[in-house]
Symmetry: C2
């Protein structure tokens, strides 16, 4: 069935232009309806349905306060459309913390979930991607929350990437159960005893971009640091490779070789990923990269539509409920 996706027209560094461009591409290329949420005066002459929201939460605004005080902001209104059944999913490239807070408050938390988590996809060249969570919703975490992240991340990875029994690893600084900080040492035995997931033990930073693990569980501080470190490292590396091949010494051979690297650069580009999902809320809430291009917006809308089709929220609700009854 055709899904109806609410899109924050005001969210992200390139809003509204790139966001609107992405929305128009999406309705042309995909079997979706898109509802733009934002300031009508910024969205004139756009041939898409618009739900008015007079306020915009800035990228660096305080999330909790913004969501509390800016009730007519595009992020709050978009989350309400999902709550009210007027949209099947909500996509925003805006303030991540505000998306977390608005989704929690307006869509509501899945019963039994202590804290939500942002699940981010990390591309692995030549292999299935790795899903990392929490990648930034909750900086300070408790062991029990990480256990739920493992459950929810497992359901998400199976649903989104069709991986039957995703291998779940706990991010630490050594493979042995004795390695890590206090949080990791407390979480390890809980994950070992947990039914319903395929826990493979501790994994390390060097495993993130390999085919050795499918879901990596960590607190939101470490997860966000990992994500941004990789982003910066790969960017530095891509620049250095292109610079080396673009030199006079490399000549025509170098310039020609760059062409062969373009698909790889595309594979590693965050725009290809289709956004991160906020797990633990009663609705499909997709957080796209702040610097999203029109292509990123199309991919996020596509992911949102597929996830709405998959009944993932129901699957996650069941998984969390079963685990809570076991303990």
């Amino acid at each position: 069935m055709t899904r109806r996706i609410a899109l924050d027209a005001m969210g992200g560094d390139n809003a509204p232009d790139e966001v609107v461009a992405g929305a128009i591409q999406a309705v042309t290329a995909l079997d979706v309806e898109v509802v733009l949420v934002g300031q009508p005066e910024q969205l004139q002459n756009v041939d898409l349905e618009v739900v008015a929201a007079s306020e915009v939460i800035a990228m660096d605004a305080d999330p909790a306060r913004s969501v509390r005080t800016m009730k007519d902001s595009s992020i709050v209104r978009g989350a309400e459309l999902v709550r009210d059944g007027k949209a099947d999913a909500f996509v925003s490239a805006g303030n991540t913390g505000a998306m977390v807070a608005a989704s929690l408050l307006r869509m509501g938390r899945i019963k039994g979930v202590a804290r939500p988590a942002v699940a981010t996809t990390i591309p692995v060249p030549g292999s299935t991607p790795t899903v990392l969570l929490d990648s930034g919703a909750i900086a300070e975490c408790q062991a029990e929350w990480l256990v739920q992240f493992a459950l929810m991340g497992s359901v998400y990875t199976a649903t989104r990437y069709g991986i039957a029994r995703p291998r779940v690893g706990l991010l630490s600084i050594g493979e042995e159960p004795s390695k890590g900080n206090k949080l990791v040492k407390e979480t390890f035995p809980l994950l070992s005893e947990l039914d319903g997931i395929n826990f493979i033990g501790n994994v390390e930073g060097r495993d993130v971009m390999t085919d050795d693990v499918d879901v990596i569980v960590t607190d939101g501080f470490t997860g966000n640091v990992v994500l941004k470190t990789l982003e910066g490292g790969l960017k530095a590396m891509v620049s250095a490779v292109f610079a080396a091949l673009g030199t006079e010494a490399a000549g025509a051979e170098g310039a020609a070789a760059i062409g062969h690297l373009v698909p790889l650069a595309g594979e590693l580009n965050p725009d290809s990923i289709g956004g991160s999902m906020l797990l633990g809320v009663k609705g499909v809430s997709i957080i796209s990269h702040g610097s999203s291009s029109a292509t990123a917006v199309v991919n996020a809308i596509s992911a949102a539509s597929e996830l709405a089709d998959s009944a993932i929220v129901e699957a996650m609700t069941t998984a969390v409920s079963l685990a809570n009854h076991d303990t």
Copy 2:
């Protein structure tokens, strides 16, 4: 003056062969003396001075227990040579935790230092490197310890890389002082008030491989995760680049282009870095990568010799003492 460097002949994945090969190259190429520490039966026919140590601490052994019980291990004996003034520095590619414990117990802690930290160099293509600490000595840290890491890291970066007023950043998940976990939020105001360092505020994972910061301060858990994430990410990327250029489609152009990337791969190779220094102990203790090649050993010996020449331990002692009297 010619420095005398003690080298753990038994440490690392490629010991003793690569380590011995590195030692021989070092005494040929550099103005240094090298003393091998290890099992004499493994070091026969080597034309270098050997200090006997009958035991070897395994790479995955429990550090504290090993150092306590294996008094005749190469790591413990090497640290003793520095303590006794029989060597100017000690280099090992062995068990990092054991190097930390043995250096602390045998060389002793600098007066006023609460905890030591491993300072690791991260290469930045086309720029000065970034020094990250703690990269794995102490998983669970307190704010006051991070303040000392900032001081010691600043002295180290100035001494080793000749950067006059190194920019010190606190690793977090947003630039604003309000962003981060509990530890970061507690540390930020302390660093803001600290004299003697050039604190530039919070930095993020994406800044690690840029020229925007010289010293990054974090706890040993996060630091180690960052380091290994970068290592794995860059490795995946290098493989993918070489694979793309090595395909039939890329042909001769691709193969030729690979040649232009070799210097870059060398720059990013951990073997080029010359090891990490353990800061906070009364001696030059250099921890080399576990998979060190002979080249890595040469570079670590060279760094050890320069650091011994620089009177860095004295400079660090003064910096910590001044800061402790200020507060």
